[in-house]
Every structure is written in structure tokens, then in C-alpha cells.
Amino acid sequence: MSEVAQATLTMTRARVLAVEKETHDTFTLTVASADAEALPPFEPGQFSMLYVFGVGELPISISGDPGDPERQVYTIRSVGQATHALVSRRPGDMIGVRGPFGVPWPVKAARGKDVLVVAGGIGLAPLRPVIYHVLRNRDDYVRLLVLYGARSPRDLLYRKQLAEWGRAPDTQVLVTVDYGGLSWRGHVGVVTTLFRQVRLHPAETVAFICGPEVMMRYVVRQLEARGLAPEDIYLSMERNMKCGTGFCGHCQLGPYFVCKDGPVFSCRQMQPWMDIHEL
């Protein structure tokens, strides 16, 4: 087997260290290699193929700290048989891991600038490594702005961390929900409504966006209206990835395979393809 095939197709056995309930349907799994060799390091925005023996394999974004690669962390929403099996693992259980795969968020391109993170729903998971990276390398960046929208207060991920990040210097964290009950005293409205609360310096900002594609389209429009160039806006396209290596073609989007050429693309790359119906 070639070195490339070895790296992409060979599975590593990983042991589940912890399963943490984030919301009513979303869980965070922490795993570590079950063998002498550690899991390979990853960059923010990359994903792994996680295999539940006898059930199936799924592409899941790595949501942990890239500065702590020994333990890999995945946040998973339980929506089907395989994801349900994954989040039902218990500490000590074994799963298979392939990867990491994919083009990461270009965090180096944002050095010396403001980093704007815009996330919707579970889209915060692949962006959390960016936040860890910026906070770990604080002097390399100017402001960190996090705009996060979820369906309702009970759907918010990483609530404790959001509060902690908001207290960090030169960091602004704004959270909104589409529907709020009477006990919710935070912001209510779609994530684009948060832009009225931030002052952007368009020439000095790099934006990283992840969420449902419709949400990302509207966020891009807001950013462009505020003067951000398409090459300073990056999106994570979460299409139907299957093999993780660009062989199967499930995730083809225009000339790209999302698993291999993405999932992170610049807005400039994606613009011709985002609005095409049924693509």
C-alpha cells in the first residue's frame, strides 16, 4: 500500500475517554489512540472519519484544541442510526478513526488581523479549534469576534465556554437564538442581526463561517455589504462526505470534492456554485 493510501485508508483504533452531553441531541466525544502510536495531529477545520464497528462510518469535524492533539474531540448531533450509535458509546469503548482529512481554516492568513467567527447551530463545532488556536496564540491576532446563532437556548453548544471566551481580552462573543422563551434574557433573532452590534474593520478582518448553507449565504451578503473582500471570507461546506479521500464522488460540488478540496473554501472559490439550484 502506498504511503498516501496508508494514511487515508488505514484506521486507527481509538478509545472513548469521555462522552459529554452538550444539548438534548448533541454530544461531545473525547477519544485517544488505543495503540502505542498517538492519533495524528490536526489543524482547525479538519475532520476525521469515525467508525462504529458494525454500524457505519461518518465524517465528523474535530472540535477540540489543536494544541492538545493527543486527545481528539468530536461534537456530534444524533440525527440518525450511525450518529446515535456514536454518541451512545461509553468511556472505554473502542471506535475506529481515519484522518484527519481536508483543507483547514487558513488561520495563518488572519495573523495580524481581526478574526471573525460566525457560526450557526452545530457549525460552531468545526470553528471551536479556530477559537482555541487564536486564544492560544493571542499575540498573533488583533480582535476575536464570535457571532453564534442557534435555534433556541436549549440548542446552544459550549455555553460555559462561550461565557469564558467573552471575558478574554479583545474578544467579543455575541450569542443569539431564533426563538427565546421568557427565561432567556439574551439576544433573539437570526445570526445576521448580530452584525448591528459589532464594528468591523473590513480591510483588517478575516471571517470564518460555518452553518447551514442558507445561513452562510446571508452572512456572506452582510460581510460583503460591510466591505469584506471575498478572499477574506472562508466557509466550511458540509456536503455529503463519504470516503474522505475524493474517491467516491458523493461530495462533489462543481469542480471540487468537498472532502478533499475542502471542507474549507474561500468565498471567492464558492461564489459561482453556492446559488445554483440543486447543485
Binding site: 441531541d25 448531533r77 440525527v79 440518525g80 450557526g120 447551530g121 452545530i122 446563532g149 442557534a150 435555534r151 440548542d155 431564533d178 426563538y179 427565546g180 422563551g181 421568557l182 432567556w184 434574557r185 439574551g186 439576544h187 433573539v188 433573532g189 437570526v190 445576521t192 442581526t193 448591528r196 452590534q197 452553518g211 447551514p212 442558507v214 445561513m215 446571508y218
Partner: protein, 158 residues
């Protein structure tokens, strides 16, 4: 509002960005400083409140009452505006507005604003253009809200 004149406060308010000085002066002549305590009802749904507000600080929730419960559909914060329907002067309020924290705002009588618009079409155009922007943004946001984008795919009807 920390010793600032009404004109200064208005000049810094995003709603009046791009307004001519004479138009800001005109707004200042009609403005009244108001304050609401936490959890105070500013106006109720259906109420014939003729006031339009520019929020200077604090947070306001727009709510819809249904039997046995209240839906909080939007929040508005410093730099935003509240009660735009007062400027049209037709019908009652569409939502209930409640202050979630201490709110400081500038209030304007809708009837007076309309009168000023009629007397000075250039001011009227500037004001209506800004209001239309607000209404369009809110319509867009409401449409996105209706799409329920974060719902699990399996739970969607289409």
C-alpha cells in the same frame, strides 16, 4: 445620557447615519429622553401607542402573547429602533415590547414626525428611507427565522 446634548446623542445613533445636520437638529427638537426599568412593559400588542424610539442603551424584547405563553421573537439593543409603526400612524402595535434591562431611549411622537415629513419632504425622504431599511432588514430576518435553518433535516417537512 451622560451630559451629552440630544443632538450629540442623535448624531452618534446608527439610525441617523448619513442624515444632514439640519435633519438631526429637527429630530433633536422633537426628541424626549425616556428610561424604562428592567421588565417594564413599554407598550402592549394592539395598543395605540404613538411613540417611536431610538434605543441608546439597554435591551428590549418584542413578544407575542398566545394563550398560556409568550413568544419572544426578537430583541433590540443600543443603536436600534423600536416602534416604527408609530411613524405610519395606522393601527396598534404589532408586538408587546418589554425592557430586559434598564433601557434609555429617545422617544418621538409619530404624529409630530409625520407632520415634519410633510412640511419638509427632504427630511421626510431621509426618514422614510431609513425606516424602509429597518423594515426590510426585519422582514429578511423574519423570513430566515421561518426557515428554521437549524432544525435536524429529518424533522423538516420539506
Amino acid at each position: 445620557m451622560e451630559g451629552k446634548s440630544l443632538e450629540e446623542i442623535l448624531r452618534e445613533h446608527p439610525f441617523l447615519e448619513g442624515f444632514k445636520s439640519e435633519h438631526i437638529r429637527k429630530m433633536a427638537e422633537m426628541a424626549l429622553e425616556v428610561q424604562f426599568g428592567r421588565d417594564q412593559i413599554i407598550f402592549r400588542e394592539g395598543q395605540e401607542s404613538g411613540l417611536f424610539f431610538l434605543i441608546v442603551s439597554g435591551k428590549v424584547a418584542l413578544e407575542v402573547s398566545a394563550p398560556g405563553r409568550i413568544f419572544r421573537v426578537q430583541t433590540l439593543e443600543a443603536g436600534e429602533e423600536l416602534g416604527w409603526s408609530s411613524v405610519l400612524g395606522e393601527g396598534g402595535k404589532h408586538f408587546q415590547a418589554r425592557s430586559l434591562e434598564t433601557v434609555r431611549a429617545l422617544a418621538f411622537e409619530g404624529a409630530r414626525l409625520r407632520q415634519a415629513c410633510e412640511q419638509d419632504p427632504s427630511f421626510g425622504y431621509a426618514l422614510m428611507r431609513q425606516l424602509l431599511k429597518v423594515v426590510a432588514e426585519r422582514l429578511q430576518a423574519t423570513r430566515l427565522q421561518l426557515l428554521d435553518l437549524y432544525a435536524p433535516r429529518a424533522a423538516k417537512l420539506i
